[in-house]
Amino acid sequence: MSAADQQSLPSAPPAFGIDRPKAALICFAVAIALTIAQYTGLLPAFLHRLPESLIPPFADWLDVIFEFVKEDLGLLAFTRFLTEGLEWVLDVTGNLLFGRRRWPYLGPIPWSAIAAAVAVLGYWLGGWRMALLAGGTFLWTALVGQWEIAMQTMSVLVVAAPMAFVIGLSLGITAWKYPAFENAIKPILAVLQTLPFFTYLLPAVIFFKVGPTAGAVATVVYAIPPMILMTILGLQKVSPEVVEAGKMSGCTRLQMLRHVYIPSARTEILVGVNQVIMLCLAMVVLTAFIGMPGLGATLLQFMGSFRLGRSFEIGVTIVLIAVALDRMSKAWVAKQPEHFEKGTPWWQQHRYALIGLSAFVLFYVLAQFIPYLNEIGRRQSLSMGREIDGVMRTFLALDWVTAITGGLRAFLNNNVFIPFRNFLLSIPTPALILLIVAFGLWLAGRKQAMLAGLFFSLVALSGWWDRAVITLYSVLAAVILATLIGLPIAILAARNEKSARRVLLACDTAQTFPSFVYLLPAIMLFGITDIAVIFSILIFATVPLVRYTIEGLRTVPPEITEAADMAGATRLQKLLKVQIPLAFPTMAVGFNQAIMFAFFMVIIAAFIGTQDLGQELQRTLAGTNLGTNFVLGICVSLMALSFDLIIMKWASDRKRVLGLGG
């Protein structure tokens, strides 16, 4: 495309601009007609649901392919070989951190030594506050008697995160070097990022043996995509003059990469590291579903037996670890090198490393004499779990509490959720697909609408339509509620700078929590019921909504709001006529993320008991039904991708129209 074309592009009207809304309207009308026909009993059954006989056995086909890859291509032999290496590494970290009886038979390292070293690391990264957060987290973990399970989780994390980093970085560099490769992996990454985590788990188990190895592999795969994306971004952003300076300094290609590109992309790469760590933590906790021992497994077990106090304590530990890891890695991103005056002795230049090492050694030695510093057993711990269990139970059994939660539940169930669900289920398959197409045509464009229609048709062909619709229902119900709750909060918070910043900080912190933790408050309030499912999705999805709404409102240029003030707009008019329309594209990004989060959470909520795809997926974990597992996972992914395509296209179009920059 020539430069002249590019210049004229933004102002040119989109092709077929006039008849796109009309097409949307037609699709919409046909869908309504089909639904009415269904209600009046005029619709032939094969138009309501695809007849069983027409559904291709995708799962069986996939199984054949997997079987071929697994046995005939020798993939299984290869992965078993990898498993051994990985197992060895995990044994080493397992031995050091929680004393698994494997080589090198040194561990477990006393908790106090680790906590002290981490506190010094925190101090180096971010002063006293960070030291307190980092050391305090580990101290808490030990004191409440969760050291061993926390270290089980950590022993996988410390292996998985570096692996994901190295693999992601290498793939990112390759993709940056070879645009063809980048184009090839971009769609795969998009699918991977929307694929429900249960779909990562089963292949991991089948190819990499149940237990920590499968957990580590699933975690690594799950954490790689953002690392790839951040690496590409960082490398592309290196200033051309720095690159030229490198070339003029006589760098070979390898020297360019090692000494120029990678160090110059440091910030983006470290942001990638932060994301890798957070995703790894979230995933490691979830590997509880395939029997990985650790914080997640214990939480799962306690929640299952409704011991809320102890679940709560583990939840606190997980959240603390998440926040500490997040803050520390972010501090690392922000940390700039400082110079030392000439002649600074080496011990002064490395003083933090030395202090950390001494603290570690000191406590290691002390722990040999003071058992409490070495290990805190469950009995010696300060855990109040049992007591809190009791308190919670009494609280939840109080008449007025049961009256409120029970009443709320009955009301929502009978008047909102169940009717909504039944309505969605009553819509004929082709009508729902047409509705999605209409939605795409109306908001985005032909391409997005076609893809979304294709994706939903594939879901229909998969044979899991009803389950998929129930999944969709949970997602939609939760996101609608989240919007109703989140928008007012965000609008109120955005009214002044201080509260906006506070709420944003809260949202940022909440986003670092591993998703699993969000089940806790839901179960606490509503027990193991379907309302708890919606509720957990609801809290999870509200966070990005609030965050992006505040950000959108805050970035409205002050000249514009001032102009509105001068025009004599009331506060409400200003909000409705000026601020929200301008903030809408950003809000849409938040809305999109809320939907993505909801698709993610609805699968996890299968644990509470649902009748959707998640439930089926969880069921496949027990067996070796890789084909079904994949089909189910892809169904979730396709639905999520449809929304993603449509909403993101709309948001970027809108931003361009408003001149807010791409």
Partner: protein
């Protein structure tokens, strides 16, 4: 300037076209197609049929408005850009045909470059930045440290060698860039608007500093600027570019006295010509005159008072003890008075 020896850089009919298929497009390109016509075809002519030589020890200043192709041309000299057509020879070798290994070797031993926004590596200290080219060619740690310290002293940054770039001011950062480009003792020195990003005061100071360095080192220099005053201060010769082509390449005196094109004339319109034109270019060879001789390096501005008070009609001119001829008073007065 020694025109007798072979040029250090010799550029013949060089083209650099940006776009989808530059080579194929250049083949079909008809003679005399303008920059705008090429743009309408979907290509950008960064460098358009440029031929010029750079001689040993001279300072060639490339001048032109932003976007006229100055940076692109210089990047062709060091093959940071592959040229689309023509040839560029550096010390007699055609750099377009050099294999990668030898190209790297050439840059490691002969070329230094300074960038407008410095191009420093943010994670390296001043010392490590300056030593970077030495490190790349595998020099051992002590030798490169010594050499780096030497150039750091040369640019007046002693005591700052352990600082990181972001801890320095713009002027200091550019000193690091200069030091880095000098570390390998290059024969050819490229500077792409090295002072444009600096405040006017600092710019002046850096220009003086630069002239001092050049006096000491006597390198072959290609210096880019969009600032005519800067060009006049520094240049032995000036090449004026427009839309990728060189409009005129000549000494400052000739450019103001005999602009080759209307564009160049417009460019030089507001210049105080009396400060640019020197006695030596106004001389009529063979003619003689009586009385006290004037120095060929004196500008018309320097002679202004004498031109008005001295009754002679012509003045003998000598330079370095050699008589050049006589300068008619009328010619000098024309220059002095030709100002709007």
């Amino acid at each position: 300037m020694s025109t007798g020896t072979a040029p250090v850089i010799s550029c013949k009919n060089a083209w650099k076209i940006f776009g989808a298929d530059p080579k194929g497009y250049l083949k079909t390109l008809s003679e005399g197609r303008s920059f705008e016509e090429i743009r309408a075809d979907g290509y950008i002519a960064g460098v358009r049929d440029v031929s010029l030589d750079v001689h040993k020890g001279e300072m060639l200043v490339i001048m032109g408005l932003s976007g006229s192709g100055k940076s692109t041309l210089v990047r062709c000299f060091s093959r940071l850009h592959e040229i689309t057509g023509g040839t560029i020879e550096v010390e007699g070798t055609d750099i377009g045909s050099l294999p990668e290994r030898e190209l790297i070797e050439l840059r490691r031993s002969k070329m230094g470059m300074v960038f407008q926004s410095f191009g420093l590596l943010p994670h390296r200290t001043v010392l490590e930045n300056v030593a970077f080219p030495l490190e790349m060619r595998g020099q051992d740690k002590h030798a490169r440290r010594d050499r780096a310290m030497e150039v750091i002293k040369l640019v007046g940054l002693e005591g700052r060698e352990e600082y990181f770039p972001r801890e320095l001011s713009g002027g200091q950062q550019q000193r690091v860039g200069i030091a880095r480009s000098l570390a390998i003792e290059p024969d050819i020195w490229f500077l792409d608007e090295p002072f444009s990003a600096l405040d006017p005061l600092i710019r002046r100071e850096m220009q003086d500093e630069f002239l001092r360095l050049q006096e000491m080192l006597g390198k072959t220099i290609v210096f880019i600027t969009h600032d005519f005053d800067e060009a006049l201060r520094l240049a032995d010769r000036i090449a004026i570019m427009k839309d990728g082509a060189v409009e005129q390449c000549d000494t400052p005196d000739q450019i103001v006295l005999n602009p080759a094109t209307e564009y160049v004339r417009k460019f030089t319109e507001d210049i105080d010509k009396a400060r640019v034109v020197h006695a030596r270019v106004l001389v009529e060879a063979g003619a003689t005159a009586e009385g006290l001789a004037i120095d060929g390096a004196a500008s018309v501005h320097d002679m202004a008072k004498m031109l008005i008070t001295d009754p002679r009609d012509a003045f003998p001119v000598t330079e370095n003890g050699v008589a050049l001829g006589a300068m008619p008073k009328a010619k000098a007065l024309d220059v002095l008075l030709d100002q709007r």
